[in-house]
């Protein structure tokens, strides 16, 4: 019997775990006025390792999960994640994508891109946007530091989930047992 190709599910499940852990961390960080944003991690593996169809499906579904919990126009976060996905996908031949170090560097750049996109889209609501950038800058530095620490673990988690599907991440060919 032919095994279903569930490669899109691997980043989706991992991202869901990350979103929940991030939300839990933010719940406890709230009294300190700090926020952890890990948007870059949500997109990097799917864009760097999977084929376009499965990777983009995983990323866009993750985007919908993110948007459902956020007071942004539904689809805004999904669009930014999709944009980051295709940008990484386009340039992925130019870096060694199997290396966790490069995965971390790309995740940091993607995180910076997504954070700035969301900030420019949302900071206009603030009564004093200039003052809001101070808080956003602290959040960004904190998020980048935290992301650098957990990126390798998250990369390994997604690799393990892809192995669980029994298929090669890019070609989709069944892996030998």
């Amino acid at each position: 019997m032919r095994r279903p190709d569930l490669r899109w599910l691997a980043p989706l499940v991992a991202n869901m775990v990350l979103l929940q852990l991030g939300a839990l961390a933010n719940h406890h960080l709230a009294p300190f006025g700090l926020t952890l944003f890990c948007g870059g991690l949500l997109v990097t593996y799917a864009a760097a390792r999977l084929d376009l169809r499965h990777g983009l499906a995983g990323t866009l579904l993750t985007g919908l999960l993110f948007d459902a919990l956020s007071p942004v126009p539904f689809g805004l976060g999904t669009f930014f994640l999709g944009l980051a996905h295709v940008l990484i996908f386009q340039g992925r031949q130019r870096f060694p994508r199997d290396e966790p170090v490069f995965f971390t560097v790309v995740a940091l750049l993607a995180n910076l891109f997504l954070f700035l996109c969301l900030s420019f889209a949302l900071v206009g609501d603030n009564p004093r946007p200039a003052a809001a950038w101070g808080r956003l800058f602290v959040d960004l530095i904190f998020s980048q530091l935290a992301l650098a620490l957990v990126a390798a673990w998250f990369f390994a988690l997604q690799n393990a989930l892809i192995e669980f599907t029994g298929r090669h991440p890019e070609t989709g060919r069944p892996l030998p047992h």
Binding site: Q20, N26, H27, G33, L64, P71, A132, G134, V138, D139
Partner: protein, 278 residues
């Protein structure tokens, strides 16, 4: 085979087509998708909250008996004080009802108190909101005011089956009609000044020119009751600074909010009662 140039642009073309399809989707379908994706994740937030409650329960179990006895004694004193207040409250209610009947006034909006545990706090530089463990099943409605012992917490922005989302008074998305204590003229309050490692603050606009405030002599900012959502007299914060606005017609300033807003674990939702339910 596709030309190489198109092959390179294929990811962008795919995203563009998907974006176009998304824009053309009917609003109802998008709203349904949003609710579905929220409800999919809601059990995780609730489960984390229940686990935390359990942790607190076990942490309390190891407290010494002497401490529990002292806490019980303090609670008994508080209860006695509240009993007196309750009787006073009943008398005042009866008086209001008598005057309403006498003057043939329409009844003031009345509220039912619905306490709720905070399941998740989501405070960042873009928005400030929390998820509470009460929803549609408990009669919560969109727009309902949320309060705590220190005053206004915010208002309900989304209601789901077992959970609701509260937009905090610290959020830039929240605007309220307010009044300065002992002054009936309305002013406008907006949240949004949330620096790291410091107390939350908000802004106040359209303050009359004769009103002054400073950090050493702050003025209390309360809800005005205008708009019919928040009852009047609920504390929002304290105005600590006022300066003349750019047009010179009013003053604008900063409001210091309660520090406890960022670490709340329990809040109360004011659910408006229909006149026949009173």
């Amino acid at each position: 085979m596709l030309p190489r140039r198109f092959d390179q642009a294929r990811p962008f073309a795919t995203l563009g087509v998907l974006l176009l399809v998304w824009l053309l989707l009917p609003f109802g379908l998008k709203a349904f998708t949003r609710t579905t994706f929220f409800e999919l994740q809601a059990p995780f937030a609730a489960a984390q909250s229940y686990v935390q409650d359990l942790q607190e329960f076990w942490a309390l179990r190891v407290r010494p008996k002497q401490e529990i006895i002292e806490a019980g004694r303090d609670l008994a004193r508080l209860n006695a004080a509240y009993e007196v207040r309750l009787q006073e409250n009943e008398q005042l209610r009866a008086e209001i009802l008598r005057l309403e009947n006498l003057l043939k006034l329409p009844p003031l909006p009345d509220h039912r108190l619905e306490p709720a545990r905070v399941a998740r706090r989501d405070f960042n530089g873009w928005w400030q909101r929390m998820v509470i463990r009460k929803g549609e099943k408990h009669g919560i409605t969109v727009g309902a005011p949320v309060v705590f012992s220190g005053g206004v917490v915010g208002r309900i922005s989304e209601v789901h089956l077992y959970t609701s989302v509260v937009d905090l008074v610290t959020s830039p998305t929240v605007r309220l009609a307010a009044a300065i204590d002992a002054d009936t003229r309305p002013v406008s309050y907006q949240g949004g000044l949330n620096a790291s490692f410091s107390a939350p603050r908000g802004t106040v606009e359209f303050v009359p020119l004769d009103i002054n405030a400073s950090p050493s002599a702050p003025r209390r900012l309360v809800t005005s009751g205008l708009g019919g959502v928040f009852p009047s007299g609920l504390l929002i914060g304290e105005i600590t600074r006022l300066e003349i606005s750019s047009d010179g017609l009013f003053k604008t300033g900063e409001v210091r909010l309660d520090d406890r807003l960022h670490s709340l674990t329990e809040v109360t939702v004011l659910v408006q009662l229909n006149p026949e339910d009173r």
